[in-house]
Symmetry: C2
Subunit: 152 residues, 2 copies
């Protein structure tokens, strides 16, 4: 077996913390979503469609970084469950565009409120300075991850 | 529809950033794992077993916050693929304990190296002060999330 690579202590620590925080965020999110009969990937699709309305399937797959076959199955189920509607483009009737239904919108509002209540219950244990530091650090990290993703 | 709840700007921001960072960490992790023929839940099981060796199935389900039927399917597949071995307890032969195989250990080492290379490529863009701030903030957040989870 090759010698294991050596990394800075800060790298090892940040990798471990990111992995653990992401794990808890996902599990906690899943528990909240279970009450609304919706899965994590479905909720991500709803949020993506709310953020950028009237996307086509092709645009949605790209945004969600999913194979289009996977995203199509996802959207089929969500349309059946009434969270999403498929509409024909008004300019070009061959193009199908996706939209969040009223029921989908209500789920987004309620799930975000539940998630925010969870985050609020943690932040109230922090000082104002710690809160600012946390928000700044996450913001910086997110920008780095995002640019990393777009320009690998 | 009821009035939407109002939250502090910091709560809205941290919730959004946590959700986005967790999403990217998961997707990036999944891409790394794909090269090793292993899924995210399987890798989480490997890490949990490495952290606390010789767990029983019951202990593992609890640690992974998964239904035991789901965890059993997961472990069956991982044993079949050679990542995990089931051993009888030396004291009580009726008890089955789980262990990471040599192949599983090798996957952990290689995947963690790949993840650390990714984190290192981001951290090198930060000043020493920003790095310290990020590690501190994530540490504080993780402690809060963890205590929240254990004592809901």
């Amino acid at each position: 077996m090759p010698e294991p690579e050596v990394f800075d202590e800060s790298v090892v620590k940040v990798e471990r913390l990111l992995r653990r925080v992401a794990f808890i965020v996902k599990r906690r999110g899943r528990d909240i979503l279970a009450d609304f009969g919706i899965t994590n990937p479905q909720f991500n699709a709803l949020l993506a469609l709310k953020e950028k309305e009237h996307m086509t399937m092709g645009e949605l797959c790209e945004k969600l970084m999913l194979a289009c076959s996977t995203a199509t199955d996802l959207i089929d189920r969500m349309e059946k469950n009434g969270f999403i509607v498929r509409n024909r483009d008004t300019q070009d009737r061959r193009v199908i565009r996706l939209a969040v239904s009223e029921k989908g919108q209500q789920v987004i509002t309620e799930v975000l409120s539940a998630r925010r209540r969870y985050v609020a219950s943690m932040l109230e244990k922090l000082s104002e300075e710690e809160k600012t530091q946390l928000a700044q650090s996450l913001d910086r990290l997110h920008s780095l991850m995002f640019s990393e993703k777009v320009n690998p």
